[in-house]
Amino acid sequence: MRSVSIIGVGCTKFGERWDVSLRDMIAEAGVMAIEDAEITGEQIDALYVGNMSGGRFIEQEHIGALIADCAGLSRLHVPSTRVEAACASGGLALRQAVLAVASGYSDIVIAAGVEKMTDVSTGTAADALASAADREWECFFGATFPALYAMIAKLHMRRYGTTNEQMAQVAVKNHHHACMNPIAQYHMEIKINDVFKSPMVADPLHVLDCSPISDGAAALVLAPTEMARRFSEEPIKIIGSAQASDTLALHDRRDLTTLDATVHAGRAAFTQAGIEPRAIDVAEVHDCFTIAEILAIEDLGFVEKGQGGKATEEGITALGGSLPINTSGGLKACGHPVGATGIKQAYEIVLQLRGKAGKRQVDEAEIGLAHNVGGSGGTALVHIFSR
């Protein structure tokens, strides 16, 4: 297998982008990445795009061909593949692109992600998102996505003493980080009390414990590491890429307060990279709800099981702490256009490792990690990056 590097990145502003379409956003992110890598369309061997539900959100499937077309590559007939793993669709697109380059089959490959979620009502969007859960045996009985994570939170609180304040602190921190990120959906500081005062969605999760509905797109250009310096002065190496699955329904899991898919993908990625979790300088983890960030830092091995809330409270995961988590603002405050999220996470880590993350720059960041989850943990992807 060949070593793979990222030679170009692009990302649109995330948010309620009523003025632009899915087509506009993917073209914008794609052009940014291609210009960043200084490549031409003729050099692109393949495209992979993560998109969860074009069918439900904009009544458009066949997103693979669509993005090749929007990117101006239709006359070059570049193979283009849409992949789906719910909220982990972006991470999965990255992994497919990594495999294509690592195998030697392709050289220059685009990994992209896009979701246009605000063209439908909030209710329709919530129902589309609920299809990442088990439609027949969870949703049919009234489960919503926040409800599944709320049930995880309830048990985590009971077992480990995690508090509402600790969960709210995740949101406070990620909103603070987002204020320093120009592409973030929210540029708004919040306090713990704001989280408590926001309407309850599913006890114990309030509105401000939940990631928003967002529009956005992101793209990366990948190349074999041996060729990367021809295109980029600061290529970022992908030193670990792993994926794991688990039961679709939360109730079927071995342990309701652990995402085993994260544990397995994390271990495999760390083994590939030949490093321990403590070697990570900066990480983007899947905080679709505040409790999800607490689970992620535990399940990736950054802190002991049950200590995620305490670590957050102590400021370890904030910018300036020993392990800054979600410097982009995370899904919570940067926004969560589901198909784009996994690619945006890699985009943020590349900026950090290049030293180009502006006010939210982590000092001397050498190794970064991106963690993307589908559904309530049916899929997890972990990528590790190095300068």
Partner: protein
């Protein structure tokens, strides 16, 4: 929710009566029924099994903001229940939210789960209610 009758109709035994499967090789019970045992896979011997329906609440939440199909029910309680035979299921708890506790014993009740407008299908299925164990106190208080 589906608007096709067959999709609901073919799951009636499971949703009305908690009909699942039991693998006699590894002695694990499955709900909903599985066509393949994840332990024994092709070596499995699966037979039909109807669950008693009694179980224990492992975790729960109260939902205040639901999808369109369930909006009229808010707030309502949802729980993960471990059935006495072993498998866990997701279901609504028919009780005030103050009454729901982790570790609480529950029994199945047959209820309407949803309807498609005034003329469409009415979906029925299993919800759960607090169980008063007959051998605990002897009488309701």
């Amino acid at each position: 929710m589906t608007n096709q009758a067959p999709r609901f109709w073919r799951s009636i035994p499971q949703r009305y009566n908690l009909s699942g499967t039991h693998c006699t090789c590894c002695n694990e019970y499955f709900f909903p029924p599985r066509n393949l045992c994840p332990n024994c896979r092709r070596g499995a011997h699966l037979e039909e099994y109807t669950f008693k329906g009694t179980g224990t609440i492992i975790t729960y939440t109260t939902i205040y903001n639901a999808t369109e199909d369930f909006e009229r029910l808010t707030p309502y309680n949802l729980a993960i229940i471990q059935l006495d035979e072993g498998p866990k299921v997701t279901g609504q708890i028919v009780s005030s939210s103050a009454g729901v506790k982790i570790g609480m014993r529950v029994r199945p009740v047959f209820r309407i789960l949803g309807k498609e407008g005034n003329k469409g299908i009415i979906y029925y299925g299993t919800k759960f209610a607090p169980l008063i164990e007959p051998n605990c106190s002897g009488r309701d208080e």
